[in-house]
Symmetry: C2
Subunit: 417 residues, 2 copies
């Protein structure tokens, strides 16, 4: 991968792009400004080319022309239909367990309460101090509402740029007790991309009588998941990252079939009722995961999610994962070659088997560097206090993007030194 | 209004349309099939003509081209900006008290908990048995979560087609006690359109030390509201009815400024944090109503709401109300003239001062009649068990629509008899 001078060459990046079996997927996205090096597809995924037309159809035809009739003509089924397609393509989920609705905050709130309800007599939530903020806020508040507490894993300072080491089954097992009702963890850490031991942690929790809520926001669409296979309980995730569902696209909930009959929605709404338009006196939850619906879902937003899910389904998660590993490994190689000498340290696992689809670098000037890169049309993400997060979306990121982006960062650091 | 034969004439309807000062607003909407008589704008408002372009801009330019940068370039401020415009145009609200987010179910859940938190030592919620289902389900569940109870107003059978009489201050006062923390009521009843005594009920609740959460879903955009003026506490509403925000458009929350410092969000999310990207250890609520944000809001959906709010702001709520009263009065006149003899009875207040912008008729064959009308391109709404609900959206409904729709119903009933 290096030129004759020992420096990684752009030609090599071009060769990697030429050999990329997923290269043609980039053509399925709208990319109005090809000079932008976009390395933040894990914050907001790019716009699929088909989305504009699909949204225009829902707005113009389904809303504008069919009006209220569209609820009967398809909209009512969208949360479960798109959920099933999402579950099959990305989660390893058989049908009837996935629903697209609300956002990750609201869905995590629902699932933590539901898990506590399924474990009466237990009131502790285990979560990680380095968890994505909304998960921590919700966990703390749900524990307060239930008269319980959160048992926090990990180092005291959650502001650090990365929890590099994956959360392990033995780490979680050390926190489990007869009072733990539920463990809330991310499959892929939002800063470091470290992949938690999903199967082992799920087993350890079950052995201790607890349930697990997996936040898959940075995992769905970037690594293959097998929620059915590992015997998971509940999962949640967003659809505006690797799923390319658009800014503020609705989130999803996955719930294992074995919990369906007993699980409760703590925010019961008319769209999760067994008979929506009966409008009866009592709340009777719909069968299965549909009960996690609250109010009226957005038909426009669901259509946009469907387009993004369809592209990932077509590519296949094994191919997506293979390219993701190649992209992040290439980024790590370039960082080693160009950035390490400037004090930029890798804050993601070096072993690709432990790493999702982004790479975080720590540097004392991370904030200013991120801004300077953005000003030059290279767009990574800053993560407080010292992380430059480089998101590599397998359907749209090229090896030349990785090369050019990290070369730009190297040039900035060269100029600083 | 009657022809020389004594029957209401279509010519008269045409004259009313010709004299309608808001008639030109219908041209600001996309109406692909002009043969449809749409009498359900209070379930799903029509598509504003500007919305398609605005949505295409957000999708293509802001998402597709500017990508993640759009959050800094405007998206972060949209929930409050659109909220302020909505509050000023429709709610009688000064700035900083309205935020657009989530849906009515989730927002009502947040507000009931927030109200209970503001009234420690009190655990009763007063609500109405005839309330819209989601409000009842949420009230019952929040009461359960707080170890309290709902004190239900109204007749035992909430399935009846209409609670015709407006909820009065004295009715609510009769349910108030030292244990009542909050009253949850709709300003406009979803079946009968009866307008509750907003000012009097608010005063009565305050006199008893309780707060009020007003559900304005059927009121916002159909009758002028004066939430600041009446000294209201909290309000919630949807934006897919008279606001024409689209299917599943986000809802809104209004919170009186005097409650801002003390109010809590029971579903605390990162977007409601005081410093969103600090991602600190603790949840620190944003100042003011912004704290009611949960997860990432949809930029596309907010833009669509903004278009609908803009049209109502331009028309002005006094003019909207004047036309609404004329439309519903005309519908009542036609129902009296053509339908009463067939057993269709008015299930809305006869006094326009007590009536919102829809008219409900009761008939034993309401379900079949609604279906038969829909098959003929006349679209009202059926409300279980025997209500035909005729929604009259002042910006888009013509007097000729009212005439033609009720004439179609009369023809169906004539054929039945």
């Amino acid at each position: 991968m290096t030129s004759s001078t020992g420096a990684p060459s752009r030609l090599h990046a071009e060769q990697l792009d030429a050999a990329d079996p997923l290269a043609s997927f980039r053509l399925r996205f709208t990319i109005p400004d090809p000079t932008v090096v976009y390395l933040d597809g894990n914050s907001l995924g790019r716009l699929p080319a088909a989305t504009s037309g699909r949204v225009a159809d829902v707005v113009g035809d389904e809303w504008g022309e069919r009006l209220i009739r569209s609820w009967d003509e398809g909209w009512m089924d969208l949360p479960l239909e798109v959920g099933d397609r999402l579950g099959a393509a990305l989660l390893g989920a058989s049908p009837g367990q996935t629903v697209v609705c609300d956002n990750v905050t609201v869905n995590t709130f629902k699932l933590l309460h539901a898990a506590l309800d399924l474990r009466p007599g237990r009131s502790t939530i285990v979560a990680h101090r380095g968890e994505f903020p909304t998960d921590r806020y919700v966990a703390a508040e749900v524990a307060r509402q239930r008269g319980g507490a959160v048992d926090w894993l990990g180092p005291l300072d959650p502001g650090a740029a990365a929890q590099v080491d994956p959360v392990t089954a033995s780490q979680v097992a050390g926190a489990l007790s007869d009072d733990v009702a539920v463990v809330l963890l991310s499959v892929v850490d939002y800063r470091s991309a470290a992949i938690a031991e999903v199967a082992g942690i799920t087993r350890a929790a079950h052995d201790a009588g607890a349930l697990v809520v997996w936040d898959c926001s940075h995992a769905a669409g970037s690594i293959p998941l097998d929620l059915d296979g590992v015997g998971a309980d509940f999962a949640v995730g967003c659809s505006y990252k690797y799923l390319n569902g658009g800014p503020g696209a609705p989130a999803w909930i996955w719930a294992a079939g074995r919990h369906h009959d007993a699980m409760r929605n703590p925010v019961p709404g008319w769209m999760g009722h067994d008979d929506v338009f009966a409008m009866g006196a009592e709340y009777v939850p719909a069968a299965g995961v549909r009960r996690f619906l609250t109010g009226t879902p957005s038909a426009i937003a669901l259509a946009a999610v469907d387009v993004g899910v369809g592209l990932l389904a077509e590519a296949g998660m094994e191919a997506v994962r293979a390219k993701s590993v190649a992209l992040t490994s290439y980024a790590v190689d370039l960082a080693d070659a160009w950035l390490a000498r400037h004090g930029a340290s890798l804050a993601s696992p070096r072993d690709p088997a432990q790493r999702g689809s982004h790479v975080t670098l720590r540097h004392s000037e991370a904030r200013a560097l991120t801004q300077a890169l953005t000003d030059r049309g290279v767009i990574p993400d800053f993560r407080n206090p010292d992380g430059i997060r480089i998101g590599l979306a397998p359907l749209t990121t090229r090896f030349t993007d990785v090369h050019d982006g990290i070369a730009s960062l190297a040039a900035l650091l060269d100029a600083l030194s």
